[in-house]
Symmetry: C2
Subunit: 427 residues, 2 copies
Amino acid sequence: MAERHLKVQLLLTGNEIMSGDTVDSNSALIARRLGELAITVHRKVTVGDDVALLQAELAAMADDSDLVIVNGGLGPTVDDLTAEVLARVTGVGLEEHPDALAHLQDWCGRRRLPLNAANLKQAMLPAGAGIVPNPIGSAVGFEMPVGSCRVICTPGVPGELAAMLDGIVADLARRMDRPMQRSILRLQTFGLGESTAQQMISDGISDWPAEVELGFRAGAPQMEIKLSIDDSAALPARQRCREQLEQLFGDHIIGEGDTTLATRVLELLRERGATLTTAESCTGGLIASMLTRIPGSSEAFHAGFVTYANNIKHTVLGVDEQVLAREGAVSEPVVRQMALGAIERSGAQYAIAVSGIAGPDGGTPEKPVGTVWLAWGSRDNLRSLCLRWPVERTLFQTMIAAAGLDMIRRTLLGLDSEPRYFGQRRV
Amino acid sequence: MAERHLKVQLLLTGNEIMSGDTVDSNSALIARRLGELAITVHRKVTVGDDVALLQAELAAMADDSDLVIVNGGLGPTVDDLTAEVLARVTGVGLEEHPDALAHLQDWCGRRRLPLNAANLKQAMLPAGAGIVPNPIGSAVGFEMPVGSCRVICTPGVPGELAAMLDGIVADLARRMDRPMQRSILRLQTFGLGESTAQQMISDGISDWPAEVELGFRAGAPQMEIKLSIDDSAALPARQRCREQLEQLFGDHIIGEGDTTLATRVLELLRERGATLTTAESCTGGLIASMLTRIPGSSEAFHAGFVTYANNIKHTVLGVDEQVLAREGAVSEPVVRQMALGAIERSGAQYAIAVSGIAGPDGGTPEKPVGTVWLAWGSRDNLRSLCLRWPVERTLFQTMIAAAGLDMIRRTLLGLDSEPRYFGQRRV
């Protein structure tokens, strides 16, 4: 096998994947694990449980690849066809494999299950196939060459596949001349759209080096920028790219790797020995939930208030009833009083308060759906702002919760510059 | 197009799918939506963002299909290649499409965003292509024939794809000679595993009719049971199946269609003119967030409390400090006082209170990670229970939040029977 440029294809089978009843996460897992060895998957094909179709696909793939990984169709039922398909493609028969049978007997024995006919089918493998151990499930994997291509057949049960991949990846690494690890640097951003980021890079960086692959992964609320290299000689070039991106995007970059707004805010709070509280109306507990999803959040987050109704803003957080009546719940004085009330009642140093109109109902000509007031900061340094973010309800809640966390991140970092999305969204 | 036996293939593109950074859920969505028209997807192929590869695949697919749906590659960045690929396959050039441009101008205008060069790329479509409206995003879809095959290009952003599919499926239904809609009845359940449900059906229903296809879609926190038929003559048979399932699973069935625990609880509260409050420790605002995600939730949900720290349970909800010190935060008296405190402070008729150990840290031999006390009901009819649900932190939070909502659903329905998961999880 030509190791660095191994041509790999995936063949996925299963009626439940074709019908959409099951979302295929297995091929992503295989691709990520191969990515650790700097192997890129060239192409993947998915078909239903149909012998003729599978046979044609596998034969064509093997003819054009160094390695084909087949996933699915190893189970005990009649629609599990992978062994038969590989036997047909290689022109051999199926026979009972003693190691596969021993594995099945052991597996059933430990579970005190009878070894029935359906199970026994899982020991019938193409003659000459080698076993790929399954540390979890009843069906072993198997492999054999098809011409100059290696074909490895793996189970569709995600946990079994994951366990089996450890062995497959370790084996591939051993076989490879230069087991070089692809290196991916991921930068997390908030407040930038994919097209804006792309445009800023096109306009701002004229000499992007070919050896640093640039990628984007747009999500809500964050967008990830990926800088991938396949050779450690490209590390200095990537470092220069990173510095240029930091100049371009500045404090819109939250951090590296898996950093989220919530993890970054909690980290900054812990560094300062400070705590944060939340007073949420339109985000309805989502900011609190984003924080408390993170292990260890209890150190910096002690209390949150979901004050959805007007009278609750008064009774629970002490917002002035007359101000509520005069200004409305979605207003600067109300959201500031919510923040101060939450600080007072929780003893926290910092607060985020949010009051807005998530829709689809409740908008008015002056305050249409998507209008939101935020207040954030400390008792002595409380800031506030009105944004308009007219998107679908749950996306609105996600983006506003994230914006609230971003405001606190900026406060804790002492950043005074305005994020780009203020300019576009500010009312 | 030979309508009932339309040969359909999917071509999916995106480096992030090939690398495994993103799990492709779009092809499952497309397959499910086509399934509503009794159209089965024949095959799907996924490749990275590579013009030559995409061109070869699309040409081969179009040559062998009645309909090809391409997904991904409509964005504004240089690695978005779908328009160019379709232009190459059909041998036409790219030109600015006036409707696509108008859509982009409108989209940016409503968001007060400048229309930059990267965006403008999204208006450059193969000459002669028709527009497929995108009700949400900036990139329109487009379609044109390739030989006798119809090719439709759709965006990779899942929400945009979902919105666009409504139009595509409606259009397909109109074009089909026999626009027979596959009819799918979906029943939502909570507290049942897939293998348990399957076993109960195998054991309990011996004469399942062949014309009613049974399917499961396991999710967290709910599991969906699907009963599909392709002919209205099977409606009475399906009705009998449904009644048998209702006998088997009883009050583990929450409702039909898109019903969630949160929508069902809000519906029951509204019918009774009642309100609910939450006092959350380990779920950290997730119950409130699950409720407030639903439009109109403000009618029945006015206030929620996230009392993560012990002293906050005392100061905000009035839990007795001595009880906290003596029994610990994860205890029956504490969780009951949390519920009563939330009812008193919010004026709500019903409360859910939760206190547990989400992990990964904080467990003890007596109260290991996964231990949780729940209290639910009204001031005069408050119940409580300890469960042990030792799973990963965010799944724990999801399942416990759902269990809390399920307890309120059962209370509001006056159900006295214990759900199955009590027996398995009860401490």
